[in-house]
Subunit: 207 residues, 2 copies
DNA sequence: AGTTTTCGAAACGCGACCGTTGCGTATCGT
DNA sequence: ACGATACGCAACGGTCGCGTTTCGAAAACT
């Protein structure tokens, strides 16, 4: 908790509703693509229908507000069904796809991709809190696939992850009004990745 | 050319040096991760060692300055060697990798990934000028591979492109002081993509 | 009832940047 | 030489957001 100080519960208690409105406004604006640099406390206050005082009483600065707001995003990667590697990979990519369609969740990628350089502290905490757990879950699916023999024993897991996740991010970032992410993209990505691009007459006759 | 007007060559001619300094400063700042919104004419002028007047005399607004600056980035994709699909793919990814290490060239991805929503005009022109030609070149390599029989006839070319380019962008965006892009990433990416992840005892024994 | 704390709102002085204008100087064509 | 234009620089009035302060009202405690 980066909150500046708990008030000794003597007088009027802090409004839960105001706090939620502030965090919501913050997340929404970041989700819409507003940079942390551009994010103004005044705009957050106005959007949340709250006085600036109410914000400054809780957070010392903008970065703390953003950190705490992002921390409220609990987006657990689901335990993979575990039927097979293909199903698990598709499931995870599908999570990414569906999340990307909600404005709120876009702030995850927006922060991760845009703010790393300028707010290293924010990025580091965000990386530990959100990014790494997800990478690890994804990594485990691939490792398990190697262990079960579904995937090549010499598969470069990190590179494989980059390909699938990178392709997904690529599409979601490029997506927009005119360029929606196809519903079946996760399946198509996983299938192409599993089969490989090369034409091999001894094997690829169709699945 | 978005330049506001050519002066009738009567008096003192406009300084080539100043113009170059302005464009250089603009590109450098964008390459460093400064948003177009954040980019201030004052900062550009100061960095270029130039008066604001000199900028406003040439460009009507910030967006025009950015458009013209980006247009000076002539970054032709090389004609691929054409030895085989693998070599061509590695070559193109290698171009992306090496470009990403130069600050100046980072403004390509920065603009493409961060400014699409807020500056649709800028993004559209940039897309036509830089992005689409490169996508098309990349696409041709894959199509040629299908035509020569090196790649599967039913390969989903768009998905394949997303995987390779997306993975590369993913790494370059994530890269930084502590996270350099491995030199051999292009090769590793292409090899994993061509082979596929799946373990197939009838085929994968090594290359 | 009285105390304490928070609430939203408004205003403060401060600094950054806007786009414009005027200044004295430099550099071109005629 | 002379007029025209561009140069860098400094200043203008204006807007925006900063972080702080003050205000009267509201909501909890003893």
């Amino acid at each position: 908790m980066t909150t500046i100080q708990e008030s000794a519960g003597r007088g009027r208690p802090r409004s839960e509703r105001a706090e939620k409105a502030i965090v919501d406004a913050t997340l929404d604006m970041i989700g819409e693509g507003v940079t942390v640099s551009e994010l103004s406390i005044e705009a957050v206050a106005s959007r949340a229908g709250v006085g600036k005082t109410t914000i400054y009483r809780r957070w010392a600065n903008k970065e703390d507000l953003v950190v705490d707001s992002l921390a409220t995003l609990r987006l657990p990667m689901p335990e993979p069904g575990g039927a097979d590697v293909r199903a698990d990979l598709v499931e995870y990519l599908e999570v990414m796809r569906s999340e990307s369609s909600e404005l709120r969740n876009r702030c995850i990628t927006n922060i991760a991709l845009n703010e790393a350089d300028r707010f290293p502290d924010l990025y580091r905490r965000f990386r530990e809190l959100v990014i790494e757990p997800r990478r690890e879950a994804f990594r485990q699916v691939l490792r398990r696939g190697v262990a079960t023999g579904e995937l090549r024993p010499d598969l470069d897991v990190e590179v494989a992850m980059s390909m699938l996740v990178g392709a997904m991010l690529f599409h979601t970032k490029m997506s927009g009004p005119g360029y929606p992410v196809p519903d079946d993209l996760p399946e198509r990505l996983v299938d192409e990745a599993l089969r490989g691009f090369r034409y091999d007459v001894t094997r690829n006759v169709a699945s």
